[in-house]
């Protein structure tokens, strides 16, 4: 039944042996490929090094012209004058926007996550989750447009002293932008809480879904939830288009949300689009501001990873 000779009267093994002679090319590929792949993998490392290097180089050069103390503790930002001023108003603007955004996104995002993981049926989830994904996929330039042309005039009807460019409407829209992030990452954390913990621990004893959510699921998923909030905060800090379009370009050391302000990111856009020549003080200053921004977000990203790793529950 099984005939080892193929009808061509050459066995497959013989054919393989003949082909072996050509194998040298194959060996070359076998050695070359991992090296090529490694080089590609190194590109991502070089990108990080490149970012650090460019930011640090221009930042150092900047601080040879402007005093570091003045820059970080100066309360008046006037980069286009001789007296350069301090970055505090930009940091204040960034914090104000992030604070408003978090105030909007955390309650709505968390409530959505609890609803999705504890209450919603599979069918409801199948409808709501893609909608949240759409919300996450809207480009920020669109959100900026929405903040400026809709939210800002709407709020203007409520607060009479409201400027057209203001921190409040930009902050609210940044908040809307990060809702899906908090909702989906927190829901992941809550869904990871095993059913045995819910059923055996509480539902079986007659607790309502709400009691289970608050007393069992939230505490168990807390680290994941906090990590998601920190990550969303980092997104809000680094957000550029919404604040550039809707928050204004007025460096302003204020915590009044109806005022026009400027964030770190918005200044970088302003500095880079103006008439800035290579190695001018403004050119260098956008790197110093960029470096400050980078450190902010890096700390938050690492914190978020640390929280979710360090407190990972072993179910």
């Amino acid at each position: 039944m099984v005939n080892k000779q193929s009808t061509a009267n050459i066995s497959v093994q013989d054919m393989i042996k003949q082909n072996k002679k050509k194998k040298n090319i194959g060996n070359g590929i076998e050695k070359f490929v991992p090296i090529f792949l490694l080089l590609c993998a190194i590109v991502s490392v070089l990108t990080t090094i490149g970012i650090l290097f460019t930011l640090l180089r221009e930042t150092f050069s900047f601080f040879s012209d402007v005093s570091l103390v003045d820059f970080y503790f100066g309360t008046h930002w006037s980069p286009w004058t001789d007296h350069f001023g301090g970055v505090a108003p930009l940091i204040a603007g960034t914090l104000l926007i992030s604070f408003i955004a978090i105030c909007v996104a955390v309650p709505i995002g968390l409530a959505s996550a609890i609803y999705l993981s504890e209450y919603a049926t599979e069918r409801t989830r199948k409808v709501i989750k893609p909608i949240l994904e759409v919300l996450a996929g809207i480009p920020t330039v669109v959100y900026g447009f929405f903040a400026l042309t809709f939210v800002s005039p709407l709020l203007g009807n409520i607060f009479s002293e409201m400027r057209i460019f203001n921190a409040l409407s930009a902050g609210i829209v940044v908040g809307i932008m990060i809702i899906p992030m908090i909702a989906s990452l927190s829901e992941d954390a809550m869904s990871a809480v095993p059913h045995s913990l819910r059923d055996g621990g509480a539902l079986g004893l007659g607790a309502t879904r709400f009691e289970v959510a608050i007393k069992v699921v939230l505490p168990a998923a807390l680290s994941g939830i906090i990590a998601s909030i920190v990550l969303a905060l980092s997104r809000a800090v680094g957000e550029t288009m919404i604040v550039t379009i809707a928050a204004g370009a007025t460096p302003n050391l204020t915590f009044n949300p109806t005022e026009s302000i400027q964030t770190l990111t918005a200044f970088i856009v302003q500095g880079a689009t103006g008439d800035t020549s290579f190695h001018s003080i403004i050119y260098k200053s956008i790197y110093a501001v960029g470096f400050t921004l980078f450190i902010f977000t890096l700390i938050m990203n690492i914190l978020s990873q640390y929280i979710s790793r360090r407190f990972k529950e072993d179910y």
């Binding site: 930011l55 809207i138 330039v141 669109v142 929405f146 809702i179 288009m241 379009i245 890096l298």
Partner: protein, 290 residues
Amino acid sequence: MTQQINISQIKGRVTRNKIYKGIFILAISLAMLALATLLYRILSQGLGYLSIDFLKNYPAPYIEEAGIFAGLMGSVFMMCITAPVSIILGVSTALYLEEYATQNRFTRFIQVNVQNLAGIPSIVFGLLGLTLFVYLLAMGYTLIAGALTMSLLVLPVIVVASQEAIRSVPKEIREASIAMGATKWQTIWRIVLPASIPGIITGAILALSRAIGETAPPLIIVGAAAAIYTIPDSFLSKYTVMPIQIYSWTARPQEEWQFVAAAGIIVLLAILLCMNAVAVWIRNKFQKRY
């Protein structure tokens, strides 16, 4: 007696459960209401200005003549560079990490580094591009400088998506290939890659659609200009992209330009919607074959 107290207490708890459920539903409805309002506003403002001419025209000082053609083609040309560069680099990095790298400090370092890159604000990538591509490599404010900056920006997303796709290929079919006398690369090229390609493509499309929509901050830095009256004819052309074009219309003080911006946004969203639909279609078609 005690029985009655329990019942009323339970009733209270059940009511509370219902109230909170209502609050949660309200919260999620708010999020969806925001989305609906946003889409409604944009459609109601922009649809009137959307026309074939709008798609074919270059930016112009008058509303009637303004169009998104330069931005549209700029985005397309940019993707022609960014897609191959970022996919080749991203898939290769993922293959290295998943197939070749031994578990040591260096591997973990690359992995953590990729994660952290994904968290860096896009505008910081713009600063890297400005120094590296525009000045050090003397590319100037050109299409290629912008496209390479974008490639680095989307790289981490593609790496992570590809890693997940590669990891989902079962160990058993790799073993089957190795046991046939296939070399490592033959196994990767003929078995692992074909099996993981739907996942990789889905991830790449999603990443690139983000890149099309989110190009604005880094590209403003590396010099995409708003007033471009030609489409790029080489890597070293000046260029603009859709989000930048929309941004520049939004930033104009006269209110009429908002409607032009809204029309531009409709075009942008339509393209993103198509890309996402394709990605979802691929994901559903090839899901769970093992």
